[in-house]
């Protein structure tokens, strides 16, 4: 592959893109299935020639017959390797959250139709991969199978993994039949979560006061007293010191009035570079969402008002994931809390 010039590759890629355009649902057919002999297929051809020479030199028709039978098997395998892919339908299923630097899997629904008597000769050992990524091999593709196609080390931001290469060596490994499936996949890759202290600012959008930007820390860190532990509460908030003094399980209570506005802010997050700061925010967003806390997010001129719940978490993560720093705003943004629409 390395020997092929880039220009040819690009041309090929364009041609494939035109021939197999992105679609929500792709069914493989003669239009998109390519078949070429594998290295083993070439060795097979060499064996055929060798047997033919053996048969000719010993004037033995049966050996010649054997070589011709193997040649005919070669021919038969073309059809079977085509049939193995043809009729296979691909459907994307909405994937789980993707985080940068973590292997992400795109679930793809494969559905085939094969009569019972052809079950063992259709859709066998389908391999799938994104170009340049690890591949997976499917066994027992039944009426409907969900394949999880890997994408390693995605970057933060919008990920378009591109075409999926689908191939198989069925039935004898003599041919590689392959195709490209473009399901028009895209996925927002969230910043890699980085565990850190929860760092909330009480800066509310409405009291837009320059003086009151001094940080007080309501929420988790605002200790008010102890109360007895209720089963199911976070072990992180258990007062272990008191427990060790044999005073029983007590939970540290914090000053955290329900609905009190808390803000996560990029500007106030410490870190040696932007990615690390975003990673910390990503972790905090997940943590707070899991705790069912109400929080808001301020990134530069973008503000997500306080809310809670899964959709809010996704919105925050998306904002973090798609954040591109703009040079102009960078300098005066350390205050955060810009009220931007």
């Amino acid at each position: 592959m390395r020997l092929i010039p880039d220009a040819a590759k690009r041309k090929w890629s364009r041609w494939i893109g035109r021939r197999l355009p992105p679609q929500e649902k792709v069914t493989l057919s003669h239009k998109g299935i390519f078949i070429l002999p594998s290295a083993f297929g070439l060795a097979w051809l060499a064996l055929i020639v060798l047997l033919y020479l053996l048969g000719t030199n010993y004037q033995n028709n049966l050996v010649i017959g054997l070589s011709l039978l193997l040649a005919s098997v070669f021919h038969t395998c073309i059809l079977y390797s085509y049939k193995n892919l043809a009729g296979l339908t691909f459907n994307a299923i909405s994937p789980a959250d993707a985080y940068a630097e973590q292997a992400h899997t795109f679930p793809i629904m494969l559905s085939g139709h094969a009569k019972q008597k052809h079950r063992d000769t259709t859709h066998q050992q389908i391999c799938m991969q994104f170009i340049g990524q690890r591949h997976i091999r499917l066994q027992h593709t039944e009426e409907q199978t969900i394949a999880t196609v890997q994408y390693d080390n995605p970057k933060r931001g919008l990920l378009t993994p591109g075409r999926i290469k689908v191939w198989s060596h069925f039935p004898l490994g003599l041919f590689k039949a392959w195709s490209y499936v473009d399901l028009d996949l895209h996925q927002v890759v969230f910043a890699a979560p980085l565990e850190c202290d929860i760092h909330l600012t009480s800066q509310a959008a409405e009291d837009n006061n320059d003086i009151s930007h001094g940080k007080i820390r309501p929420g988790v860190d605002d200790y008010t007293g102890l109360r007895s532990y209720v089963a199911g509460e976070s072990l992180k908030q258990v007062a272990w010191k008191q427990w060790a003094q044999d005073k029983g399980m007590l939970t540290k209570e914090f000053n955290q009035p329900e609905g009190a506005p808390v803000w996560l802010s990029l500007a106030d997050t410490q870190g040696h570079d932007l990615e690390q700061r975003l990673s910390k925010l990503s972790w905090q967003v997940n943590y707070l969402a899991q705790k069912n806390q109400i929080f808001g997010l301020i990134i530069d001129n973008q503000t997500l008002t306080q809310s809670s719940g899964e959709s809010h978490r996704i919105a925050c993560q998306k904002a973090l994931a798609l954040y591109r720093p703009s040079v102009n705003f960078q300098s005066d943004n350390h205050l955060g809390g810009q009220n931007a629409g």
């Binding site: 000719t56 017959g65 054997l66 038969t76 049939k83 063992d120 000769t121 991969q129």
Partner: protein, 698 residues
């Protein structure tokens, strides 16, 4: 991007490899040296151990040292067992050792490819129908290994079934290719098997032919191809299958002349061909008809059984266009390669033409030489003949008559003979078989000054009327003489015919009780069935099948190919061939595609779904929302919500209809319940069709 899981060999594949190993190696058993067999067995047992998890894979150094050791031993013994045998053994060892050190998928593929190659080698000397079927099975097993690698189903029976299917699908194209593919002559000289030779040998002492008469083995078969389409050959008395000419006699043994032996040795490099008989070439237009009557030719195909010798069989005077056959000046045919496998060749014989009307002094000398100071009585008898009959022809006829008139007996177990062989036979024992009489006649002729020589071959043939061919068995081995006359050349004389005319006229079986000759040593020979007509019939049937196999498969050559193509296509032109091939391949492709299930459409939705969908389509025309992926009941609810204010008349029907549909489709129902629901469903269907038809469009 290769992952580990791609090179792991599955347990199912390992099982298939165990099976394949036995299947591929066992037919080669007789060619394997004891060492090879032992190493193969060890490798197999080791693999079994690996399969059952008892032992680990052998270390690499062990495999390497075994391989080097085995190859060295083979190189040392290769001169004893023959080069080809050594090569086969090397192949077997390589196969076994590669088999044991297999770690990755590519090793499996190598083993499979070598497996096919070994099957090819096995076919070199196992060519009967039964062997071919057996080896086809081995090939299917070998293919199953690959299938087990690439098929999801890990049941061996499923792998085997699919392998069989692929082979079956490949068979038609293979047959077409077999017919049209060009048959070339051997491209280079290849080593041959060293095996025990059977049949006639190039030396003859009295005991040899008698040994052959004890053998019921098939020597060769002949199919005559007469211009009128019949398959009958000449009468039994004319079936003298000339094989070897022996001119040197040392008092005990007849041998070929060294000059002929030299030509045989050089045959591959200087293939000698004899000119066709002159009368044929000279025939002018005027006497063409007459000469063709005189110059009758015989066309036939000889299918020789493997004798591991190189001499061939032919009627007088045999010519062959085959370029792997040389025509020697003693009017015999000689193969460039030993007959290690069943082999067929075409012969044209000119029975009425003359052989060597002129003799060089050297050859004349050779054919007059007798061992000095031997057989004095025979010498004296010869002198008497030459005084009495000065004419050579009359003299030989008198000698022949002498055998008939004197008290000589024909027997296959003659009494022992002393040093003066001919004297002892002619004057003491007075009993012997063809070799004795032929020797005596040559001796007498030479002693009286007439060039004469010994010819060995076979006499007679058993006709199979079903398939129309002659079988010649080893027990039909025969020896006769050729005497040279000025102006006439060599003429055959068979003194045996004077003593036992039945033997020549009606064949061996008419003269001798088979039980006491060729069946003596073979209690289970199928030839015993001759006594029972209907069993003999079956024997003939099986023999015919074998014959057709030999002619149409083993002996399928360029000439047969042309004949077949001519019959199928009319004339054989390149373009016609190309079109025919194209049509064939297309038909075969369609055939495979059909049986592979490529033309099968997506299964149609059943009647219930079709009816439900039909109604939904009609409702959508009335302005209902798309059904999209909604399940039927949810869709019905959605419709009710949409038309909550002005409910169309048919909507309640539709809700009921949907419920019935879900019930029929997804609920477990007894037969009676099902019938009730189905009736309701159909009633609602027609009601809805009607209601939707009459209701006003929105």
């Amino acid at each position: 991007m290769q992952d580990n899981f791609d090179s792991i060999i599955s347990r199912n594949t390992l099982l298939w490899l165990l099976l394949t190993n036995v299947a591929v190696l066992s037919p080669q058993f007789e060619h394997a040296t004891p060492w090879t067999t032992a190493i193969c067995a060890i490798c197999f047992v080791w693999r079994m151990g690996i399969y059952y998890g008892k032992v680990a894979a052998p270390p690499k150094w062990l495999v390497t040292s075994l391989a080097i050791g085995a190859a060295t031993t083979l190189a040392l013994v290769s001169s004893q067992i023959g080069l080809l045998n050594a090569l086969i053994n090397l192949l077997l060892l390589g196969y076994a050792l590669k088999y044991i050190e297999m770690r990755e998928l590519r090793d499996v593929k190598t083993v499979v490819l070598v497996g096919y190659f070994i099957i090819g080698f096995t076919l070199l000397n196992q060519q009967a129908i039964i062997n071919t079927v057996h080896l086809a099975l081995v090939a299917i097993i070998n293919t199953s290994v690959l299938i087990s690698v690439y098929q999801d189903n890990h049941k061996p029976s499923a792998n085997l079934r699919f392998s069989f299917k692929i082979m079956l699908h490949s068979l038609p194209l293979a047959i077409v290719l077999f017919v049209v593919f060009p048959r070339l002559g051997p491209l280079w000289l290849v080593p041959s098997m060293k095996s025990a030779k059977t049949g006639l040998s190039d030396e003859m002492s009295f005991g040899d032919i008698s040994k052959l008469t004890r053998s019921d083995e098939l020597a060769f078969r002949v199919g005559f191809e007469n211009s009128d389409g019949s398959t009958l050959g000449p009468a039994n008395a004319d079936l003298y299958w000339r094989t070897l000419v022996m001119e040197n006699y040392d008092g005990k043994t007849w041998r070929q002349d060294p000059s002929i032996k030299e030509m045989q040795r050089q045959s591959f490099y200087q293939p000698s061909k004899r000119p066709l008989p002159k009368t044929e070439q000279l025939s002018s237009q005027k006497d063409a008809k007459q000469s063709s009557l005189r110059q009758k030719t015989l066309n036939y195909v000889v299918i020789s059984e493997p004798s591991h010798q190189r001499w061939l069989y032919g009627l007088d005077q045999a010519f062959s266009q085959d370029n792997s056959i040389v025509e020697l000046p003693d009017y015999t045919l000689y193969a460039m390669r030993p007959l290690d496998q069943r082999q067929s060749y075409r012969v044209v014989s000119y029975p009425n033409s003359q052989m060597d009307t002129k003799l060089t002094p050297k050859i004349r000398d050779i054919n007059l030489t007798l061992p000095p100071n031997a057989n004095p009585q025979t010498w004296r008898l010869a002198q008497q003949f030459s005084q009495q009959y000065p004419q050579p022809k009359a003299r030989i006829n008198a000698m022949m008559k002498y055998f008939a008139e004197q008290a000589y007996y024909y027997t296959l177990s003659p009494p022992a003979i002393g040093n003066e062989q001919i004297d002892d036979f002619l004057f003491e024992n007075r009993a012997g078989f063809c070799a004795h009489y032929a020797s005596a006649l040559v001796y007498l002729a030479r002693a009286s000054g007439i060039p004469a020589r010994m010819v060995t071959g076979y006499q007679g043939g058993e006709y199979n009327p079903k398939a129309g061919y002659y079988s010649v068995y080893q027990y039909m081995a025969h020896a006769w003489t050729e005497v040279w006359f000025e102006g006439e050349g060599w003429r055959p004389f068979d003194p045996t015919a004077m003593i036992a005319p039945q033997r020549i006229l009606d064949g061996f079986d008419a003269t001798f009780d088979s039980q006491n000759s060729y069946l003596l040593d073979s209690p289970f020979s199928t030839l015993r069935l001759k006594q029972y007509p209907w069993l003999n019939n079956i024997r003939n049937q099986i023999a015919s099948m074998d014959y057709y196999w030999s002619v149409w498969v083993l002996g399928f050559d360029e000439q047969r190919k042309q004949a077949v193509l001519k019959k199928l296509l009319g004339d054989v032109s390149t373009s016609k061939m190309a079109i025919a091939m194209l049509v064939c391949i297309t038909i075969i492709l369609l055939f495979i595609a059909y049986f592979a299930g490529l033309f099968e459409r997506k299964p149609k939705p059943d009647r219930l779904s079709r009816r439900y969908q039909a109604i939904v389509q009609k409702i959508m025309l009335k302005g209902a929302p798309e059904q999209a992926q909604l399940p039927p009941l949810a869709y019905a609810q959605a419709l009710s919500a949409k038309w909550a204010i002005s409910t169309p008349q048919w909507l309640p029907h539709f809700n009921q209809f949907s419920a019935e549909f879900v019930a029929l489709k997804y609920q477990q129902l007894t037969t009676e319940q099902r019938a009730v629901h189905l009736r309701q469903f159909n009633r609602l269907y027609w009601a809805l069709r009607l209601a939707l038809f009459v209701s006003k469009p929105k």
